[in-house]
Amino acid sequence: MRDVLVVEDDLDLLQLEEMVLQEAGHRVRTASDGQRALERVAEEMPGLILLDMRMPVMNGWEFAREFRRRYGRACPIVVVTAAENAQLRAAEVEADGWLAKPFDIDDVLRLVARFVAPPQNVRL
C-alpha cells in the first residue's frame, strides 16, 4: 500500500494530520517544507501528497512545479491551504483536489480515502 506524504510547515498541524491518518490505518510520512518533501518523494513515490502552499525554504507552488517537472503526474496532489481561495490555488498548480483550512478531520479522511486505497485493518 502506498503511503500519504503530508507537507505542512505548522508542526502542530503536521503532527495532528499524521496522527489522524495513522489512526485511520494509513501509512504516513511528513515533511515541513517543499525541499524535504522532494527528498521524501525521491526515497519512495507516495500514493498521495497533501500540500500546504505557504511554507519556508520551498513553497507549495515551487514544490508542485518541480514535482511535475521530475515526475509528471506520478502521484496526485491535494492542496490544503488557509489561502482565501483554496480552489483557485489548487488550479494554479493543477492539483487533483483541495481542502480549505480550517478543515474538518472527517473531510481530510474522506479526501485521502478517495485517492489512497482504503486501509486494510482500520482501528476505529
Partner: protein, 452 residues
C-alpha cells in the same frame, strides 16, 4: 442667498461693465473670424463701389465720351481691388488657422501623458512624453505598424499573458471602441512598466469611416500597480497567518472530541467559536479586497439550492437552539463566485441565528422565477428597530448597537453581502417587524440553460 448678503455682494462687485464689454468684443471678434467676415467685407466694399463709383467718375471726368472709355478700366480696377482684399482676408484667416494648429501641436507635444495617433497603417504620431515612457530617443523608433510596435515593446496583460494584436486598446479603438486598460510593456532599455492606456476613435468631421484615427493616451502606473501587488500580497499573508492557528485549534478540538465523546458539547462550542472567528477574518479580508477592487476567482456555474442546503446543514450541526428549515424547488443553477455567495448565505443565516436569541425556526427558501434565483432567509427574532432600518447596509453600521439586543458582529457582513450580490448583478433587501423577526432576500441572475 439672503437679501442682505446679496446687497453686500452688489456693493463689492463694482467693475461689472468693463467685464461685459470684453466678453462682447470677444464674441464679436470670434464672429468676424468666420468666413462670413470675408463675405461681409466684400459685400460692403462692392456695395459702396456700386453706389458711389459712377458719381465719383462723373465728378472726376466731366466729358461723357471719355467717361464711357474709362468704364472698362473702372471695372478692372474693381476686380483688382476686391481681389487684393479677398487675398488679404483669406491669407489672414489661414495664418490664424495655422497658428491654432501649431498651438494644438505644441500643447500635445508638452503633455505630461504620452499621446500617440494611430491610423490603419500604424502609429503616425507620438509626442515627447510617449517617447520618454517607451524609453526611445527618436520618433522614428515608434512610428510604424502595430505589428512592429508589438514585436518591439511586447505588450502584455498585467498577469503577463500576451495581448493579441487585435486586442490592443488602440486596435480596438480603430473598430470604434473606447477602452481603458492596464498594459505591461518592455521599454527600449528593457525595464518593465505598467501603462494605463486609454484609446478612443476620432475622425475629421465628414470624413469617411475608413479614415478613422485613434488617439491613445497613456501614463506610467507602475508605482500604483506595485503598491496594489504589495497590498494583495499582504492580504494573502494575513489570510494565511490568521487562519492557520484557527485551523490548528479546530483540528485539535475535533481530535479530542473523537477521543473523548463525553466532552462533545464543550468541544462543539470551541469549534463554533473558531468558525465564527474564521468568518470574521474572512469578512475583514473580503472588505479590504472588495474595497481595493481585487477580484479573485473566476465565475463558475453552481447550484444555489445545493449551496444553501450545505450552509444550512453546517449551522444545523453546530446550533441546537434553532430549528432550520430549507425549501427549494430543485436545482437552481446560477453563475458566479461560489465562495463569496456562500459567505452571503452564511452572513444572512448567522444574523438570523444571532438575532433570534430565544431560538425558534430559521427558514431558508430558494426559488427560481422570471429568470432570477432568489434566496429568502427568515427568522422570528428581535427584528430591526424601524428608525434604523434604512441604515443597515452601511458599512460598520450595527443596527442593534447600544440596545439590549446587541449580539456582537463587526457591522461588515451586510455591507459586504450587498457588495457581493450587486457585483453578481443581483439585489438584496429585507422586511422586518420589531419583535417579530426579519426576512432577508437576495436575487442572482439564473444561469442560461445549456451553458457549461
Amino acid at each position: 442667498m439672503e437679501p442682505s448678503a446679496l446687497a453686500s455682494v452688489a456693493t463689492t462687485v463694482v467693475p461689472q461693465r468693463p467685464r461685459r464689454q470684453t466678453v462682447r468684443s470677444r464674441w464679436f471678434r470670434g464672429f468676424l473670424w468666420t468666413p462670413l467676415r470675408v463675405v461681409l467685407v466684400y459685400a460692403a466694399v462692392g456695395g459702396l463701389w456700386i453706389l458711389f463709383s459712377d458719381r465719383a467718375l462723373e465728378l472726376l471726368v466731366p466729358d461723357p465720351a471719355r467717361r464711357d472709355q474709362l468704364q472698362t478700366f473702372k471695372g478692372w480696377l474693381y476686380v483688382f481691388a476686391t481681389s487684393v482684399l479677398i487675398y488679404a482676408l483669406v491669407r489672414r484667416a489661414q495664418s490664424r488657422l495655422r497658428s491654432f494648429g501649431a498651438e494644438i501641436r505644441a500643447a500635445v507635444e508638452s503633455m505630461v501623458d504620452g499621446v500617440v495617433i494611430i491610423d490603419q497603417s500604424g502609429i503616425v504620431e507620438a509626442n515627447r512624453a510617449a517617447l520618454e515612457l517607451l524609453g526611445v530617443k527618436s520618433k522614428a523608433e515608434v512610428l510604424g505598424s502595430l505589428e512592429e510596435f508589438t514585436r518591439r515593446f511586447q505588450p502584455r496583460n498585467t498577469d503577463g499573458s500576451p495581448v493579441p494584436l487585435g486586442d490592443l486598446a488602440s486596435a480596438r479603438a480603430l473598430q470604434g471602441e473606447r477602452t481603458t486598460r492596464e498594459t505591461l510593456l518592455r521599454r527600449a532599455d528593457g525595464r518593465e512598466v505598467v501603462l494605463s492606456v486609454s484609446a478612443a476613435p476620432f475622425a475629421a468631421p465628414g470624413a469617411p469611416r475608413s479614415a478613422t484615427l485613434t488617439i491613445a493616451v497613456f501614463r506610467d502606473v507602475s508605482a500604483a500597480h506595485h503598491l496594489e501587488a504589495m497590498r494583495d500580497e499582504f492580504l494573502a499573508t494575513a489570510a494565511h497567518e490568521l487562519k492557520t492557528p484557527l485551523a490548528v485549534v479546530k483540528a485539535y478540538a475535533q481530535l479530542v472530541q473523537r477521543r473523548a465523546p463525553a466532552e462533545a458539547p464543550a468541544l462543539t462550542v470551541v469549534q463554533r467559536q473558531v468558525d465564527r472567528m474564521t468568518r470574521l477574518v474572512q469578512h475583514l479580508l473580503d472588505a479590504s479586497r472588495l474595497r481595493l477592487d481585487l477580484g479573485d476567482g473566476a465565475p463558475e456555474r453552481f447550484d444555489l439550492a445545493r449551496l444553501t442546503a450545505e450552509v444550512v446543514e453546517r449551522l444545523r450541526t453546530t446550533d441546537g437552539a434553532h430549528t432550520f428549515q430549507f425549501v427549494a424547488p430543485g436545482p437552481v443553477p446560477v453563475e458566479g463566485d461560489r465562495d463569496r455567495i456562500a459567505r452571503v448565505l452564511q452572513s444572512l443565516l448567522d444574523n438570523a441565528v444571532r438575532f433570534s436569541p430565544g431560538g425558534g425556526a430559521v427558514e431558508a427558501r430558494v426559488l427560481l422565477a422570471g429568470g432570477e434565483a432568489r434566496v429568502s432567509v427568515a427568522d422570528h427574532g428581535v427584528g430591526i428597530p424601524v428608525e434604523r432600518q434604512s441604515r443597515i447596509f452601511e458599512r460598520y453600521y450595527r443596527a442593534h448597537a447600544g440596545t439590549p439586543e446587541d449580539y456582537g458582529g463587526l457591522g461588515l457582513s451586510l455591507d459586504l453581502s450587498r457588495e457581493i450580490v450587486s457585483r453578481h448583478g443581483g439585489r438584496i433587501w429585507f422586511e422586518s417587524t420589531p419583535g417579530q423577526g426579519s426576512t432577508f432576500h437576495f436575487t442572482l441572475p439564473a444561469a442560461q440553460e445549456g451553458r457549461a
